[in-house]
């Protein structure tokens, strides 16, 4: 049944692309707006052979990874602290919740003022955007630890470290991974936005240039690359999450 459904979905998607291709070739679609899929694919192949495009992809990946690697531990640490130290939690959580809801792009000019148009600026803005997801996720993960299980472990003689390892970590793991996954999506979006807004390199910078020059095949090809990378990472984290959260009833 599931296999059956997959075939139908795949056929449907392929059908859409076929229709698009046909309409483009028949001149029913404006090629300058929506070039045929085959044209985009061709552009994609060409792009992947151009060293400067590969360098740009590398720059973006580096920015995103660096921002992610800073935001995750720092954000979680802040989240754990806010959850475990009631005074700090009471003081800072309203602020965090407020900033969590504000569109971060508003602050982009501030980051340019602080860091100039540079790679550190992209990383800093990526961290700034991502970290709130991790803080909120860190707080939620600590709060998801059932207190009764901590009591049970104490009755059975667990020391502090054993409680962390045997109860806290496994209980928190699914929410931690979920936050990391969400954070990653925010992070990639932030870095790309930064590059499109103003940069010297990076795939976002190329996208902006192609867009300004109305080079639609290249623009869509870049979209395919970014989407493929995002989906791949997202899917990998989602699988890990499902594996570590197998014990949750709803899974």
């Amino acid at each position: 049944m599931r296999r059956h459904e997959r075939v139908i979905v795949a056929a449907f998607v392929l059908g859409l692309f076929g229709l698009w291709e046909a309409l483009a070739r028949l001149g029913r679609l404006d090629a300058s707006l929506a070039p045929a899929p085959s044209t985009i694919l061709e552009a994609l192949m060409r792009l992947l052979k151009r060293p400067e495009v590969l360098t740009s992809l590398g720059v973006t990946a580096w920015e995103a990874v660096a921002a992610f690697l800073i935001a995750v531990p720092v954000g979680l640490l802040i989240g754990f602290t806010l959850a475990e130290v009631p005074v700090l939690g009471a003081l800072f959580r309203p602020l965090v919740n407020f900033l969590f809801g504000v569109p971060k792009s508003i602050f982009l000019p501030v980051f340019i003022l602080m860091f100039g148009v540079s790679i550190p600026q992209k990383i800093a803005f990526g961290v700034f955007t991502t970290i709130f997801v991790l803080i909120v996720g860190g707080v939620a993960s600590v709060q998801s630890v059932p207190r009764e299980l901590v009591t049970v472990s104490r009755v059975y003689g667990a020391d502090r470290w054993q409680i962390v390892r045997e109860i806290y970590l496994p209980a928190m793991a699914p929410i931690l991974l979920e936050s990391a996954r969400l954070g990653l999506v925010f992070n990639i979006t932030a870095v790309l936005l930064c590059e499109i807004y103003g940069a010297r390199d990076g795939i976002g910078y190329r996208i902006a240039a192609w867009g300004e020059n109305l080079q639609m095949p290249q623009l869509y090809a870049a979209l395919v690359i970014v989407a493929a990378a995002a989906v791949a990472v997202n899917e990998a984290l989602r699988r890990l999450e499902a594996r570590l959260g197998f014990w949750r009833e709803q899974s």
Binding site: E148, V155, Y156, G157, Q162, E166, F246, E249
Partner: protein, 257 residues
């Protein structure tokens, strides 16, 4: 049956609530001989559970001393005292057998040894064949059996049970009560059993300790002189009714206040 395995001596417990000191238990003296099954009953909020958490070493009494096997209890003593709660409180990411083995894991018993011990306990509690189930794949009664197996896995002398059947349906509760008596007769643990159910208290125990309303004091200590093994037929007998009624008189007055 002469040695007091659990000795609660002049124990009072106060809680600080909004700066005021609220008494929960007042001057409790209770000696439980080795192998005795004691039920503790009392009106809601009388500190029954607090009493158990003192024996579990989860908190220290404000006054007095709690001893197990002569030793003053200042911290949990997992090898001497096992505890079962109202909810099974199993670790949801561990299989039944791993949950039972968990106290041994905390003590760093080698894996093979602890899994063997856990499997034996699951067999004792009637769960052979369910070793690899996750908690969410078990019924409420089965989860509580796993919790009992976990409480017994270190072969502690004392088993503390804090309303262990309260969240089960009546039929499951009756079946598990009989199962508990069977396990008790095989292992001869000293049991402190807190319950809201007078029926359960009398049916299971050698002795029922009745606490007053907050702050809890011992107002009666009833010897249950019904023969063992207990049977359902006894519960309709005259003696059972007399015992239950005697306890009910205390509770009734306290709850009415």
């Amino acid at each position: 049956m002469t040695r007091a395995l659990v000795a609660i001596q002049g124990v009072s417990q106060h809680f600080g609530v909004d700066g005021a000191s609220v008494p929960a238990l007042e001057d409790i003296d209770l000696e439980v001989p080795d192998g005795q099954f004691v039920s503790v009953v009392g009106p809601s909020g009388c500190g029954k559970s607090t009493l158990l958490s003192l024996v579990a070493g989860l908190r220290l009494p404000s006054r007095g001393a709690v001893r197990c096997d002569g030793e003053l209890i200042t911290a949990p003593m997992p090898r001497k005292v096992g505890m079962i709660f109202q909810e099974a409180n199993l670790l949801p990411w561990l299989s039944a057998v791993d949950n039972v083995a968990f106290p041994l894991k905390l003590r760093r018993v080698p894996k093979r040894e602890r899994l063997e011990a856990a499997a034996r306990m699951l067999e004792l509690t009637g769960l052979a064949g369910f070793e690899d189930r996750l908690p969410h794949q078990l019924s409420g009664g089965m989860k509580q059996r796993v919790a009992i197996a976990r409480g017994l896995v270190q072969n502690p002398a004392v088993l503390l049970m804090d309303e262990p059947f309260a969240s089960l349906d009546e039929q499951t509760r009756m079946v598990l009560g009989d199962e508990l008596l069977r396990i008790w007769s095989e292992t001869r643990k000293t049991v402190l059993f807190v319950t809201h159910s007078l029926h359960e208290a009398v049916y299971l125990a050698d002795r029922v300790v009745v606490l007053s309303a907050r702050p809890g004091r011992v107002v009666d200590d009833v010897l249950v002189d019904l023969p063992r093994p207990r049977s359902f037929a006894m519960t309709t007998g005259e003696r059972f009714g007399v015992l239950k009624d005697r306890i009910w008189q205390h509770i009734k007055h306290a709850e009415r206040r």
